[in-house]
């Protein structure tokens, strides 16, 4: 009987569960798509939902900028977020995320695997397990001006060697200029050269085409004989033969594409997406532009860097099975065909490159297949983000000729080697003693705060300050303590939520800071930017304040307009200045040139510093001006009147009345501006990102966080904090003295 009831109950539960089964909602996270592309994509989700009525797809859209997505995933997955089920990730994140145990494995049969392009399978495999499904692929190509080459009777080879390109460049550019002085043609070969990931993609192709390599079989080879020769060749191409202009350090994909399509250059390295512009009848380019594999030396082979996006199931997903089902659906031939037709995405399935419909819509896919078959990945290791930062920096220095190829080879090799083989660490655990000391100190101070002096007054003060103290404790003090603890350990981003796996490292992180030349460099940059920018802000702020304190027609609206820079979102202001200071097509250079001056490459070290100062001063002067203006209107008018009666000149009154009385206002404004300026981030990040010549402390910290070096980033933050604290103390002592003396 009892058993029967049990069975009955079980059956009931089963029925109930079937009945109660609501559709499972899986969250699909990817970069934002817009317009018709979005409709095509969402149609796929609808088809999937129709076939799987128990699953509902909800799409979470992120900014398309790769670094912003990376930041988002590091924060979310590092924090163990369970509300991402399926995500679309960049090929270079696969190892990093898999190493952090964030990716659930896929089980594909040999036959299933054989349908994909082999390079994509390799890039989705980590420690012999498939951890993602290749969704669409990219690989570097070279575009050339077929019309010009034909005009000057230059034969078009199957693959270009640098020698052939050099001959074409030396022949065509001068003759084109002679024939038509207004011809925009100026450069030989352009590629992506900004300080960002795209630079590594373009550079690896050139390096490999010259016979070099960065890492081979887990060994750093960039400084071996071949690597060094290749670097020397690249240096020559830029600085001796000048077929590659140094202005490439301004270019990302779109910049370089536009300059090429506007006729600025003979050759362009870019991704396949550029071809859709060539085919677009609006641009009228058909037949004028050809495409080939990337250039190489006579006895070397062309190389293509593998890029592309993968479907990965989060290991925190609540519905991994359903998410995997959606992934398989989206990677299926049927879905990929739709994406190829409507989004022009390059499929990862070999078969689709022979598909009639696909080829009819994208005829150039035929020529892409061999390139994709040979595509080579960037170094496949979970440490890649750190390696990429080293490469970006060293190549940038090579482009601007601040380092010789020998120096670049040695420095890059040394740093990448250090990333692979971190030095033996101290294992002393400071966290616990520090924790007890701090807890003791805090409770001691708290006790003193209550019992020292008037008990009643203390309690009242505590009550009034309680809300402020509570949120400050949670939002500011806890993160600071967290950073302090992190800095005593060597923490991988995977273990961020598992303190039991943190490895104690004593004070190593702090010791590292003081022997880190990049830190010193960032500190000097930060101080230089702060001193110059804050001084300029002060001078301009005083001028604005003195001017606006006088009454004149339309003072109200003008006062409001002067504040305009302050209210423009910083991220927009940064982009706006980037746009104004674009070396090609920017309005700053346009004015310089119409004044008869040469154009300036605003990304080169000196000009970059100037452009950042201009942007920063523009953005924050209003804040300074408004504080000073207030200080001015506070000065008694009688003082000025009596000075006038005494016949003092206006300069004399300014120096002997205005400035001394304005001192407290100036100091307060300087204090807040200096604290902010020492942490400057947004403007620099928008304009020059991680470029060495303008790298500030906050940028350096951000770089280290992005590369997964959390402990070191925490130590850096604490040292930055200490530096700012010390500088503020100087201001405060000046301010305090002034306050006392004036009271």
């Amino acid at each position: 009987m009892y058993k029967l009831i049990q069975i009955l109950c079980f059956a009931l539960c089963l029925v109930a569960s079937v009945h109660a089964q609501e559709p499972v909602e899986i969250i699909f996270s990817q970069g934002k798509t817009l317009g018709a592309q979005r409709e095509a994509l969402f149609q796929l989700f609808k088809d999937f939902e129709k076939e799987n009525p128990n699953i509902r797809v909800s799409v979470r859209e992120l900014p398309n900028a790769t670094d912003k997505q990376h930041q988002y995933y590091l924060t979310s997955l590092g924090g163990g977020a369970r509300d991402i089920d399926l995500m679309v990730i960049d090929v270079i994140w696969v190892s990093e995320f898999a190493h952090a145990n964030w990716l659930a494995p896929f089980h594909l049969t040999k036959e299933e695997k054989s349908k994909f392009l082999p390079a994509t399978i390799k890039s989705c495999t980590y420690k012999d397990k498939m951890v993602a499904l290749p969704w669409y692929i990219d690989a570097g190509l070279m575009y050339y001006r077929a019309d010009l080459l034909k005009k000057y009777d230059i034969p078009i080879p199957k693959t270009w060697t640098w020698q052939q390109m050099q001959q074409a460049y030396e022949k065509i550019v001068p003759e084109e200029k002679k024939a038509n002085p207004n011809s925009p043609l100026e450069y030989g070969f352009i590629c992506q050269g900004r300080h960002y990931e795209g630079l590594v993609c373009a550079f690896l192709e050139i390096l490999r085409g010259c016979g070099g390599e960065v890492v081979r079989d887990g060994k750093v080879v960039i400084n071996d004989e071949k690597g060094l020769a290749a670097l020397q060749k690249i240096h020559d191409l830029i600085h001796k033969q000048k077929i590659i202009p140094t202005v490439i350090n301004n270019f990302d994909e779109e910049e370089s594409r536009m300059r090429f399509l506007n006729g600025k250059s003979l050759f362009l390295r870019n991704w396949p997406y550029v071809w859709s512009f060539v085919e677009n009848p609006n641009f009228n380019l058909k037949g004028k532009i050809g495409v080939s594999p990337s250039p190489h030396l006579v006895n070397e082979k062309p190389s293509a860097t593998l890029g592309g996006w993968q479907l990965a199931v989060s290991s925190y997903s609540r519905y991994p099975k359903e998410a995997a089902k959606l992934a398989r659906f989206l990677a299926s031939a049927r879905a990929q065909k739709q994406l190829a037709l409507y989004l022009s995405r390059n499929p990862t399935l070999l078969g689709l490159y022979n598909d009639k419909d696909v080829l009819q819509k994208n005829p150039f896919f035929r020529s892409l297949k061999p390139v994709f078959l040979q595509a080579e990945p960037r170094p496949v290791t979970h440490l890649y983000p750190q390696i990429s930062h080293v490469l970006q920096r060293e190549i940038s220095l090579l482009i601007t000729n601040q380092k010789t190829p020998q120096q670049v080879a040695n420095d890059a090799a040394q740093e990448i080697d250090a990333i692979f083989h971190p030095k033996a660490k101290s294992t002393q655990d400071f966290a616990i003693p520090v924790f007890y000391t701090m807890a003791g100190l805090f409770s001691f101070i708290l006790l003193l705060m209550v019992f020292k002096g008037s008990f009643k007054e203390n309690i009242t003060a505590l009550t009034y300050l309680a809300p402020a103290m509570i949120i400050i404790f949670f939002v500011a003090i806890l993160p600071l303590l967290y950073a302090l603890f992190l800095s005593f350990y060597q923490v991988e981003i995977a273990n961020i939520m598992h303190p039991q796996r943190w490895m104690a490292s004593g004070l190593d992180n702090f010791a590292r800071i003081f022997s880190d030349p990049h830190f010193t460099h960032a500190l000097i940059n930060t101080l230089a930017i702060t001193i110059v920018a804050v001084t300029l802000q002060l001078i301009l702020g005083i001028i604005i304040a003195v001017t606006l304190s006088r009454s004149f027609l339309g003072r109200g609206p003008i006062r409001a307009l002067i504040l305009l820079p302050w209210i423009l979102p910083t991220i927009v202001a940064g982009k706006m200045w980037l746009w104004i200071f674009a070396t090609e097509g920017g309005i700053a250079n346009y004015f310089l040139m119409s004044l008869g001056w040469d154009k300036i490459n605003w990304i080169d070290p000196g000009p970059a510093f100037v452009s950042i100062i201009i942007a920063e001063v523009w953005k924050t002067t209003p804040f300074m001006a408004i504080l000073l203006l207030a200080g001015l209107t506070n000065i008694s008018k009688d003082l000025y009147k009596s000075a006038k009666v005494d016949g003092a000149s206006s300069w004399y009154t300014f120096v002997h009345i205005t400035l001394p009385l304005l001192r407290p206002a100036i100091l307060l404004a300087l204090l807040f501006r200096t604290m902010d300026s020492l942490r400057i981030f947004d403007v620099v990040y928008a304009m020059t990102a991680y470029a060495e010549s303008t790298k500030t402390l906050s940028i350096y910290i951000h770089e280290k966080i992005g590369a997964g070096d959390l402990s070191y980033a925490s130590a850096l933050s604490l040292v930055t904090f200490a530096i700012i604290f010390a500088i503020s103390l100087v201001y405060l002592s000046l301010l305090g003295k002034k306050m006392e003396s004036s009271q």
Binding site: A81, R257, Y482, I543, A560, V572, F721, I724, S728
Partner: protein, 274 residues
């Protein structure tokens, strides 16, 4: 003659100042009326075929109105919260006698010294655990905290300037301290509150990094994150970005225009002690 000359040079100076602050913004306004093809090359400076397409696509491609609303709500609530907390604290710092006053002021100030990027990860974990992720509170609470130093410093120095006699009289009349704060200090500090209010408001309006990491849907995202959503993988949507920036700036310029008088009188009496 000399007077006219000095007047002329004065207006020249004003014009230079205005050009310096407004010219870059004007460039955004001009660009927002340019069609895609004309955007990235000068000359010509002015649009050849002016268009409203950029404004249309700002609203068509994304729920930009929702972003504006989110930003407005987050900034308003943060400002209010910050002013309430700040006024309470500032009153204690300005008028009560306790020995740890400068310790408190200094530790509040030190919030503005720690690089904010380093707080993202721990804050994210806390916001997740407390269940406010992807709500307005996930932004309001951090924003209010990081705006507190400026608020407390300005309000404290303003409160210090209010004559103590007023307070003594009120105490004799039997008002509690809280009533004194509410009935005497707050009304008198109107201008200072307006000043700090607008400063906090603008800081919230501009913030990006927290807004990116602590929200995940269009229902909670603010304008700065919204603007980055127009970007394609390679494509920089200058047209939409400039149109969106113009749209964002208009309400704020109006706000500024109405508040600038108050700000200035507020600052006059506040922040800057003689």
């Amino acid at each position: 003659m000399k007077k006219i000359l000095s007047k002329m040079s004065f207006y020249a100076l004003i014009s230079v100042l205005i050009i310096y602050t407004i010219a870059p913004f004007l460039w955004l306004v001009i660009s927002s009326f340019k069609p895609q093809q004309e955007l990235l090359s000068v000359p010509p400076l002015l649009p050849v075929n002016p268009t409203l397409d950029n404004y249309r696509s700002v609203f068509e491609l994304l729920p930009f109105g929702q972003f504006l609303l989110n930003s407005a709500i987050v900034a308003t609530v943060t400002t209010t919260l910050c002013l309430v907390i700040g006024a309470l604290g500032a009153y204690a710092l300005a008028r009560l006698n306790f020995w740890w006053k400068s310790l408190a002021l200094m530790s509040v100030l030190s919030i503005s010294m720690f690089p904010q990027i380093a707080t993202v990860t721990p804050l994210f974990v806390m916001i997740r655990k407390s269940g406010i992720f992807n709500t307005y509170w996930a932004l309001i609470i951090p924003y209010a905290t990081f705006a507190l130093p400026l608020t407390l410093w300005i309000l404290t120095s303003f409160f210090q300037k209010i004559p103590q006699e007023l307070e003594r009289a009120a105490l004799i009349d039997g008002l509690s301290r809280f009533e004194i704060l509410r009935k005497i200090y707050i009304p008198l500090a109107g201008p200072a509150l307006a000043t700090t209010g607008i400063m906090v408001f603008i800081a919230c309006w501009n913030e990006f990094l927290f807004a990116l990491c602590f929200t995940s849907s269009e229902l909670a995202r603010t304008v700065p994150v919204g603007i980055t959503l127009y970007e394609g993988q390679y494509h920089q949507p200058w047209g939409e970005v400039s149109a969106a920036s113009v749209l964002v700036s208009i309400p704020l310029v109006c706000l500024m225009f109405f508040f600038q008088r108050r700000i200035l009188s507020g600052l006059t009496a506040g922040a800057v002690k003689q």
